[in-house]
């Protein structure tokens, strides 16, 4: 009744009621895991990773999997005021009653939400304060590759592909009652990191001097994607999800190796699903959900070798379903893909404005290819173009920024000469600040300072203040914090805790993000953002060095050197580049 009263007063109460179409009938089991998504319902409901993990865990006998999302501020406050602990959506059980909470870590700025969810569930935030009566707190997803900033809050992390290792973890949890025994047992699995089993030492220079204990964790790799677990149905959100559509994963990994792109290195080796498998999964998802749109997901769907065959098959089997192709590269944008789409807008990401800088970042796209792509788009009747660029990339000069402007002007020129529609062209240019991420060839690079950021933005703003062009950019403080948390070490756990205690929450939402809280939290612990955004020496021990991403550090160093000599490495399709994975996996290209 109290909950009903609360639901009547909060925004979008359907986020908190469960009972979605397609929800499984859950029963309390021997091992109960709740997958926690530290962002709001409509964001989490679009996430494919948590659905794969949920499906994979449900296949283990004796296991039940439920879901929970972070509540919006109004509902969170109401739960607190009424002393209602945060509950799961399916069984409506307090999170504290579960055996394990599995957090999906998609974005560094969601870390304070992990703490808020634990806090709302009345679970101590630090792992050392939790005894056997509390659930095991596990984290996974891309941010788990450098879990050190949040090491103090978690009992274990899954690093790499989750679908197989999560099943092993569940089986071990069914076997061991004692938390210590369980953690010891799982720590032997590939892809499992137990922070309490590794100690980090710092030298007088405030840098990491060494690690002891269990000091090497190799990422988990699902070898055969085609036969890997994939949900043949999905719950249809009570409210519209940000991507309200069915999703299949055509391949994992990306052959391109853009030097700034973390996902491109984390998700190696490249693995494909067969057209036959994908067709089966697509039909089953559409029939079971009623979605009228199907998205073919991967890091670079245009590189899926059988894309045209797959599109043909899907069109035959699902004639009424709109097919979405996210992450299409400029050079893979062909008419076959677009003629069946009714979309009037095109989004693509040249990332850098000049050929020189695109070579530096290994974005293997030429001026000609961009031009051809734009021309084709204009011919198919597109009237709105969205461009993504980065600024602050290594070696960037004013000329490269002017290159962004030139790309925009060139597109306007092409449109005026070749337009098919009477409507005038709208170009939206979105510029984000480069964030040096772990496990990329740019992991040692520095991030630009606020002064540099302001100068660069001013330069672009002046030249992009043109009719029909909308220029937008990311908040610098958000990018800076993302860099700090992405490259952070264990000392940041205290900073994150302080920031949370001082009111930081829902940081990924601009209306809640308060940079001053983070500034003082860093200061409080004798740190500053520049400790993490500075250039790192190549012989320094990096906080994430203990994680074996299989791609070797030597390869990353070579790629860094090639960046500075403006040498393009190119796609894995043009021959193996020897990143390290070839020693254990054969990328089937």
């Amino acid at each position: 009744m109290v909950l009903d009263e609360i639901l009547k007063t909060v925004e979008k109460p359907a986020r908190y009621i469960g009972g979605e179409y397609g929800e499984r009938d859950l029963v309390w089991n021997k091992f109960n895991c709740c997958i926690c998504f530290p962002d709001v319902y409509e964001v989490g409901m679009s996430n494919l990773g948590i659905r794969i993990v949920e499906e994979s865990l449900m296949q283990v006998d004796g296991v039940t999997v439920d879901r929970a999302f972070t509540p919006w501020e109004d509902f969170g406050n109401a739960l607190r005021e009424n002393k209602i602990p945060l509950y799961s959506l399916g069984l409506k059980k307090p999170l504290k009653d579960f055996d394990m909470l599995g957090f999906s870590l998609q974005f560094e700025l969601s870390y304070t939400e992990v703490l808020r969810m634990l806090d709302l569930a009345n679970i101590p935030l630090l792992s050392c304060d939790r005894d056997e009566s509390y659930p095991i707190i596990q984290g996974g997803g891309p941010c788990a590759f450098n879990p050190e900033p949040i090491a103090d809050f978690f009992d274990l992390f899954v690093i790499g592909d989750g679908e197989e290792v999560m099943q092993e973890i569940a089986k071990l949890k069914l076997k061991y009652d004692s938390k210590a025994e369980f953690l010891q047992a799982v720590s032997t699995l590939d892809g499992v990191y137990v922070p309490s089993l590794m100690q980090v030492n710092y030298g007088d220079n405030r840098l990491i001097s060494g690690v002891s204990g269990k000091t090497r964790v190799k990422k988990a790799v699902c070898r055969d994607l085609d036969s890997a677990v994939f949900p043949n149905s999905m719950t249809v959100g009570n409210i519209e999800a940000v991507f309200d559509r069915a999703v299949i994963e055509v391949m994992r990994g990306c052959p391109r190796g853009c030097r700034f792109c973390q996902a491109g290195f984390l998700y190696r080796p490249i693995r494909f699903r067969s057209v036959e498998t994908l067709k089966k999964q697509a039909i089953s998802l559409i029939e079971n959900t009623g979605f009228d749109e199907l998205s073919l997901n991967s890091l670079s769907t245009g590189d899926y070798p059988c894309l045209l065959e797959l599109l043909k098959e899907l069109k035959k089997s699902l004639p009424k379903t709109q097919i979405a192709l996210p992450s299409l590269r400029v050079d893979s944008f062909s008419e076959e893909f677009t003629t069946q789409s009714r979309k009037s807008s095109l989004t693509f990401a040249p990332e850098a404005g000049t050929q020189r800088l695109r070579d530096v970042i290994n974005k293997d796209v030429t001026e000609d290819e961009i031009e051809r792509c734009i021309l084709r788009a204009i011919e198919t009747g597109i009237t709105s173009i969205k461009l993504y660029f980065m600024m602050g990339l290594p070696t960037e000069t004013d000329e490269d920024l002017d290159g962004i402007v030139n790309v925009v002007y060139k597109i306007r020129e092409l449109y005026s000469k070749n337009r098919k529609m009477s409507k005038s062209l709208r170009i939206s240019v979105s510029c984000s600040t480069f964030i040096p991420k772990p496990f990329t060839p740019f992991q040692w690079e520095r991030q630009i300072t606020k002064d540099e950021f302001e100068q660069k933005i001013a330069r672009l703003k002046e030249k992009l203040f043109v009719k029909g062009v909308n220029f937008s950019w990311n908040n610098f403080e958000v990018s800076e914090l993302e860099a700090v948390l992405a490259r952070g070490d264990r000392r940041l756990s205290k900073v994150i805790l302080s920031a949370y205690r001082s009111g930081a929450h829902l940081d990924a939402w601009s209306e809640f993000f308060k940079p001053e809280i983070w500034d003082s939290a860093l200061k409080e612990h004798g740190l500053s953002a520049s400790d993490y955004t500075r250039e790192h020496k190549t012989d320094e021990i990096l906080a994430w060095d203990f994680v074996d991403n299989i791609v070797t550090k030597d390869y990353l160093l070579k790629e860094k050197e090639k960046a500075y000599s403006r040498t393009v490495t190119g796609s894995c399709f043009n021959g193996c580049k020897g990143c390290g994975l070839q020693k254990e996996y054969r990328c089937k290209l």
Binding site: K8, K12, A14, G19, Y21, V236, G290, F291
Partner: protein, 202 residues
Amino acid sequence: MIIFRYSKLGGAEYISHLDTLRHIGKTLIRAKISVEYSQGFNPHMQIYLSPPVFVGLKSRSEYCLVETDEKAQSFIEKFNRYSPKNIKCITAFETQKKHKIAGLIDSAEYIFFCENKFDTNKILSQNEIFVDLKGVSKDIRNKIIDLNFVTDNVLIARLSFGNDLLRADIFAKYLTDNFTKVLDYEKTEAFISGKRPEDCLE
């Protein structure tokens, strides 16, 4: 064409009007009920809902018109097999005319579960009743059509709906502030000039 009546209970009352439309659309696709689509640039299903109810109002009397050749009985069965568990079709009938149900429904009946019974004439005998609506004082008397206690705790109220709406939560607050605490309420019927749509639309 089919007009069907459905309920939103057990949590589904928190699903907004637009999301309800979305769920009905998806249910029809899953149930493989063939529905006409608009002919525009972005074709959409030809389905029309009765006037929106506010988020949080439990209801057993929502209506929807669907452009389909499906027969009523099989429509009910198929819809309920594939609909979310708390959005259920109660009845359906075939119609030849594309009735604009959103504009036709003008009153609704509600059950109010009250702590105590009171003399409803104290309300009905008044000529005007002013309540505060977001800082503006408004007369709601003409929107209260009928009130009748069927047991000591259950009040059946007919209130104006559609263009001249009196929201049930506002009426519940008025009752709580002036007569008796309202514990819960739900919408049970919708009317077109005093008749239920299933009894008057052909």
